[in-house]
Every structure is written in structure tokens, then in C-alpha cells.
């Protein structure tokens, strides 16, 4: 790009520096579009960003050279997107990722789609060929805004150096506003290289988007009356409860009114799973008691959830006797999948406060609570642990849970290991369960653990992974080593792409096509090759020792648990089936 504008000389930069506001002595003045982008990130309070260098994004990286923002170079852009996503989930603010044009941008796509499906706030910045070359099929040119339009809240093509900083600020604010989600700004190189001295303002969402805060009083009152008269009320907390920082309000509402609670997977931890009112999470592999409660309740109060098919099973048999109160900040979710008899459009935090205020008498639900307790006793999460059998994955998850503090953060990939982690780890705090739900992205766990650890350096971070998932983003171990991150990857290795193998056995007559992963490398040795510590365990004793050693080690470690390859995930609601007919073993499917 020899035709680009020359970088400002040291003298010019020094001149400009003397004229900046004395209250910001450490900031160099904005001289280019790229500097304006970085300033916008600083204004938004961004402390870390995850990315990979490349031709078209180089001006942004050059501007980052002068910034205090901690840039974490990832091994692959997909890892950058997942790390930013998880960083954002743990922090409750948009995570930021960067990539160059073309393959850099397309490598981000999976991570952006993941954030979109889970409503995670994230800002992606992508380099682009100079705007004069856009449309010419230039080297590393991809129509990034075209590719990402369906998987972002909104994306921007920044064509003006004077306003690019404000655009980035707007994209950051929009990602977090209302129902969170990913946004993207595509940054053509001529925009970021062009001279400008325009300081961007504070991050502000666009004027055309105005998400609701408080809910309409009438709708709250109608919902409150329905709650008061219910005999079998059930609360369903969705990810929106966590995203709106409404955990306290949600717990207060449940406890004050004595209403049992089920959660969705993204909302794991919103209600302490050891609380007597908590029935854990419902859905395809949710607890039997959660699915019984959903099936038999007469009023379902759903807060911040989108009634995903993995939660509802077949809609025809989902909570078939229940009136539905649906609280959501996104009006389009109301009656999208399940009809809401009492829609309440508002921010979960505000709306739960309003509901707490509006419900005068707690529903008389003593019998119902007793029924839920009975179901808990009838359908315990349990597994057989004969001494001499291969290691059970459920045991590993429980042992890790025991060995770590209550506020430890768990990240996962996708598959059987994810379900065991969700079932057998007892979560008591929000933002401690970090996983890929809607998109189901294998390989999410390790980069997510990196993002989570950087977001919360004082917390223990454990990535419960599967052999198949781990192998998809294993190169990010190099990042954990370079950043010296004290994380532990616990690979539940059954040498299968296990969930597929389980489905092949159940639904494809055991024809195990492309499900064997016995060609997987020795993960402990591979960890050592990366410069991490590696452990492996085949017995209960080895597992206990490896957990102790790995958690003691101050740096990244990997434990390769050789688990019982025959173990399957139950309970299970078959795809599109009735929640109340969950199977407890394969012969019930």
C-alpha cells in the first residue's frame, strides 16, 4: 500500500501532544483514523482485546502500539472471537476482537455467530482492503459486512476517518444495549490510514434503537394477578437474567414468593443449584425434576429466555397446561416460539423489581413445592461407580468442583462433556458457567478459558473439554503459555465424538460412522510440547492426584482423563419429543 499517507513524523506527534488536554496526559493525540478507533475503545473503558495481525488491520495494530489496552495475540481468529466472547460474559461488558480482512474476518465468523446465538455482547473490528479497491476482488478481500449481516445486531462499513472513532464507539455501545449481541465495524485501510485529528466522543448507542427499561405497569399487574392465583407456578430463568445483572432481583422474587425455579443452560448459576427451590436446568439433557416441573406447572414465568428448541422439545407438549408470563427486553421474542398469555416487555432487572412490587400475596404453592421435592428424590442425577470400571466422567466433574472454590469459572466445548459439566458441577454464582449454547460450537472451551482468566485473573478457571472439542482449538494453548495463564483444561477423553456416537447408537442402529477419535494425540505430551504441564489419568486414584497437581501448578495445565468410553448422557429428551417423557437410558428412547 505504498500510495497510503505517510505516518506522522515524531515531530508532528510531539507538537500535537503539547496541545492536548492536560487532564489526559498519557494519551497521544489522534492523528489517524486508526488512532481514533483505538481512542474510542479507550473511551469505552476497553482494557483487553483479542486478535490476530494481518495486512489490512495493521494500521489499527500500529495505533495499539501506543495504547494501554492489553492486546492478546491469539493463534487463530476463531479463538480471538471466543476469547472476547467469554471475556465479555465474565465481565458483563462487550469483549473486543480484531482480525484482518478476508480469511481473518471469515475465521471470526463462527465466533460472531456463537455470540449472536447466545446474545453475548461483543465488538469485532475487521481490516478491509482500501475502499477504492472494494469490489475488485482484491487480495484478501471479502464482503465482511455482507457475510456477517445475518449474525450481528448490526455492522458498519467505516468510510470516513473523521467519524470512524464515533462509529466504533456506537458499535460498542450497541453491542451492550438492550438485548446484547455482537456488532462489527469493517475498517478499510484508507480510512484507518487517513489523517484526522477528530477525537471521538464517548461510546453512545444509535438513536434509532431504544430498548425498553421499565415494563408497562398494566402488563406487570396482569402478570402479578396470574402469579397470585397460580397453584403450580414455575419460574424459568433465561440468560437474560444474567445479562441484565438481575440475579439478585430474580432470587429475591423466587424466594419471597416460594416459587420453584428452573433455568435454561445460559442461566446456569442465576439461582444457586443447591437452593431448595432450584430444580437446575430444563431441556434435552436437563434434570428429570426440572422437566417434570415444566411439564406439569400451571403457570410458567419465563424471564429473559427465547424458548430454544433444546429447551422446549416439541412445542406441542411444552408446558402444555401452563399459562405463560414472558418477560423479555426483546419484544420480538414474545410469542415467537411459545405464545405468551402475559407479555411483559422490559429489562429483566427493572421488570423483576416491578413484579416483586406488584405481587401482593405469594401464590399458595405448598403442595406444588412438595411435588417438586418429590421429583428431586425420584429422579436424582446419579451414576454407577463400581471400583474397577473405567473412570466415570461425572466423577471427574464432581471432583473438580470439590477441589475448586465456589466462584470458580467453568468453560466447556460442546458435546457429552459439556452436558456432564452442566449436570454434575453445582453452580451457585452467575457468570461462572461459560459455554456455547445456541450455536453449539465445538472448540469454544479453551479460548473461552483464556478470555475468562484475563477477565477475572483472581478466579480459578477450569475448561472441561472433550477430546474432539479440544482438538479443534488446541493451538490456543500456546497463548495460555505465553500469557502465563493459570488455567486447567480437563479433557474428558472417550476417544469418540461422543454425543454423535451416543446418537448413532440410539438412532442410527449403532452404525458408528466417523465417530471414532482413537487417533487423537497424547494430550498430556502435547501440552508439554506447548510448554504447559500435562497429566493423564485412567483410574480414580490417578484422577485425584492429577487434579491436585494440575490445580496446584501455577500456569496452564492439561489433564487427559481416559474416561469410560461407553458412558452416555442421560436424562435425554429426544429431539422434538415431550420434556415429560425424558429417557433415563437408551432403551427408553
Amino acid at each position: 500500500m505504498s500510495e497510503q499517507q505517510p505516518a506522522p513524523t515524531a515531530d508532528e506527534a510531539a507538537d500535537a501532544e503539547t496541545t492536548t488536554d492536560a487532564s489526559e496526559p498519557t494519551q497521544t493525540p489522534v492523528t489517524t483514523g486508526a488512532a481514533s478507533v483505538v481512542r474510542a475503545l479507550e473511551n469505552a473503558g476497553v482494557e483487553a482485546a483479542f486478535g490476530v495481525q494481518g495486512g489490512a488491520i495493521m494500521p489499527i495494530y500500529d495505533a495499539l502500539y501506543d495504547s494501554d489496552i492489553h492486546h492478546v495475540t491469539m493463534a487463530h481468529e476463531q479463538g480471538a472471537a471466543h476469547a472476547a466472547d467469554a471475556y465479555g460474559v465474565v465481565r458483563g461488558e462487550p469483549g473486543v476482537c480484531l482480525a484482518t480482512s478476508g480469511p481473518g474476518a471469515t475465521n471470526l465468523v463462527t465466533g460472531i455467530a456463537d455470540a449472536d446465538m447466545d446474545s453475548d455482547a461483543m465488538l469485532a473490528l475487521t481490516g478491509q482492503v482500501p475502499s477504492t479497491m472494494v469490489g475488485s476482488d482484491a487480495f484478501q478481500e471479502t464482503d465482511t459486512t455482507g457475510v456477517t449481516a445475518p449474525i450481528t445486531k448490526h455492522n458498519y462499513f467505516a468510510s470516513d476517518a473523521d467519524t470512524v472513532g464515533d462509529t466504533v464507539g456506537e458499535a460498542f455501545a450497541l453491542a451492550a444495549e438492550g438485548r446484547p449481541g455482537p456488532t462489527l465495524v469493517d475498517l478499510p485501510k484508507d480510512t484507518t490510514m487517513a489523517e484526522t485529528d477528530r477525537e471521538p466522543g464517548p461510546a453512545r448507542p444509535p438513536e434509532t434503537t431504544t430498548p425498553p427499561t421499565e415494563a408497562d405497569e398494566e402488563s406487570v399487574d396482569a402478570a402479578a394477578r396470574a402469579i397470585e392465583r397460580a397453584e403450580k407456578p414455575l419460574l424459568l430463568f433465561g440468560g437474560g437474567v444474567v445479562k441484565a445483572n438481575a440475579t439478585e432481583e430474580a432470587r429475591t422474587f423466587a424466594i419471597d414468593n416460594g416459587i420453584p425455579v428452573v433455568t435454561t443452560m445460559p442461566a446456569i448459576g442465576s439461582m444457586p443449584e443447591d437452593h431448595e427451590l432450584c430444580l437446575s436446568w430444563a431441556g434435552m439433557h436437563g434434570t428429570g425434576y426440572a422437566n417434570m416441573a415444566v411439564t406439569h406447572c400451571d403457570l410458567l414465568v419465563a424471564v429473559g429466555c427465547r424458548f430454544d428448541d433444546r429447551l422446549t422439545g416439541g412445542v406441542d407438549t411444552f408446558a402444555p397446561e401452563a399459562e405463560v408470563v414472558h418477560v423479555d427486553v426483546d419484544e420480538a421474542e414474545i410469542s415467537k416460539n411459545v405464545h405468551a398469555d402475559y407479555p411483559v416487555v422490559g429489562d429483566a432487572k427493572a421488570a423483576l423489581d416491578q413484579l416483586t412490587e406488584a405481587v401482593d400475596d405469594a401464590p399458595d404453592a405448598r403442595e406444588w413445592r412438595q411435588q417438586c421435592t418429590t421429583w428431586k428424590e425420584e429422579y436424582p442425577l446419579a451414576y454407577a461407580t463400581p471400583e474397577n470400571e473405567p473412570l466415570k466422567p461425572q466423577f471427574v466433574v464432581e471432583a473438580l468442583d470439590e477441589a475448586t472454590p465456589d466462584d470458580a469459572i467453568v468453560t466447556t466445548g460442546v458435546g457429552q462433556h459439556q452436558m456432564w459439566a452442566a449436570q454434575f458441577w453445582t453452580f451457585t454464582n452467575p457468570r461462572t458457567w461459560v459455554s456455547s449454547h445456541g450455536l453449539g460450537t465445538m472448540g469454544y472451551g479453551l479460548p473461552a478459558a483464556i478470555g475468562a482468566k484475563l477477565a477475572a485473573p483472581d478466579k480459578d478457571v477450569v475448561c472441561v473439554d472433550g477430546d474432539g472439542s479440544f482438538l479443534m482449538t488446541i493451538q490456543e494453548l500456546s497463548v495460555a503459555v505465553r500469557e502465563d495463564l493459570d488455567i486447567t483444561v480437563a479433557v474428558l477423553n472417550n476417544e469418540y465424538i461422543g454425543m454423535v456416537r451416543q446418537w448413532q447408537d440410539a438412532f442410527f442402529e449403532g452404525r458408528r460412522m466417523a465417530a471414532d477419535y482413537d487417533w487423537c494425540p497424547d494430550f498430556a505430551k502435547l501440552a508439554e510440547a506447548f510448554g504447559a504441564r500435562g497429566f493423564s489419568a485412567e483410574s480414580y486414584d490417578e484422577a485425584a492426584d492429577a487434579i491436585e497437581d494440575a490445580l496446584d501448578y501455577d500456569g496452564p495445565s492439561v489433564i487427559d482423563f481416559h474416561i469410560d468410553p461407553a458412558e452416555n448422557v442421560y436424562p435425554m429428551v429426544s429431539s422434538g419429543g415431550a420434556n415429560g417423557k425424558f429417557a433415563l437410558s437408551e432403551d427408553q428412547l
Binding site: A322, Y379, L381, P571, Q588
Partner: protein, 235 residues
Amino acid sequence: MSGEESTDAPEFEGPGMPGPAPEERPHPEGRRNTHGVRIDPEAEAKPRQRTAVVSALVEHEPGVLSRVSGLFSRRQFNIESLTVGKTTVDGHARITLVVEETDAGIDQVKKQLGKLKPVIQVGELDDDAVRAELVLLKVRGDEPDKVHAITQMYEGETLDAGPRTITVQITGDQQKIDDAVDAFRQFGIIEIARTGQTALARGDTPTTPGEEPGHSTEPKDSTYSDATDADDEPN
């Protein structure tokens, strides 16, 4: 380890998990339909589709049309026509969509459109809304007098008349256009281009709820009494 600690749990040897089997559990009789509405299975009626005209006031920026059309293909909404044109407010455009959906589907169309960042307002037009469509018809020029007569019957205009072809323009509602197309078939239609419906709400009603009146150099009318920024009208 909860598996070991729960001493009152029954002795369990697997595989799978303990508990009563599906056929040993009670199952409620209620049902929901495909829209998630609780129904009486004996008396369930299929939701009926209807045609709706939806108007969206949008920021006239690059990509807005692809965002709107992408939304329709992505969510499998049935769209019959889409028209777009700028308004008299600088930077604004109006998109008029004719969709064929169930009530729940039309509700979703409006809500999902409203979520798009460049979309300022969305409204569904009443049945009495003013609607019009334009068609250009190129027919064989063998019988110019007859073509002229039919064009007049439909209050159309002849735009081009040559030795071999005649091109006419007809405007009106969908029914009138359909009828006109039928009437011109006798001459042999060589080419046809239809714009699809565009529409505005009748009278004082704003076309999208809460819509601000457009800036205009036309004499102020009483409906939009606060249209004061005529000076800002871009040309």
C-alpha cells in the same frame, strides 16, 4: 460427590439414570399448536394466512435493502413485493412490503424489522390505506387503435409507440393491474415490468406509528402543523 453422599438414594448400578420410566409417569393432556398457543386438540383450527402491507421508514444508508431482504429470506417470511424510495426527509427512505403470513407471522415481521438498526418506524397499513402499483406493458404494435382504446379504458398512458411494439403504463391497485394485464394479453405481451405495491395510510393517520411529518417545500397542510423546517429541504 453427590452420587455417594445421597445416602437415601436407591442403590443404582446403571446404565443411564435412576427413576420411574416414561410410561410410569403422569402426562398432561394439554397441547399447543405450531405457534405455541395452547389449544383444544379436538377443535384445533389451522392458522390462516392473510396479506398485509407493512411500511418501514428507514435510514437511507448503503445496505439497508439487503438487510431487510436478508431478514425475509433468513426467517422464511413470505414476501410478495417490496418497493423502496427516498422520502422528503434527507437520509430517510420508505420501504413498502406486501407479505403473506399468519397473524403471528405478520407480528414477527413487524417486530423483527423494528430490531434492524437502520429501521426507524414500522407500521402495518389498514385495509382502507391508499395503495398503488405501476405496470409497464410492451405489446405487439399490429393493432395500435385497439391498444390505445384499452389503454384509455384503464386510464393508462402510451409511453412508446413504434412500428412493431407499443409500450403503455397503467397505474392502480392490484386488481386493476391484474385486469389490465389480462386485457392486453390479446395483443401478445412481449415484456412486462411491475413495481409491486406502494402505499400510504389514509387521511391524518401516519403511515408508521409516531412518524414525524416529512419536511416539504409544498404548502403546509393542517395535518402536519409542525412541519417547520422547510428551509432544510435538500434538493
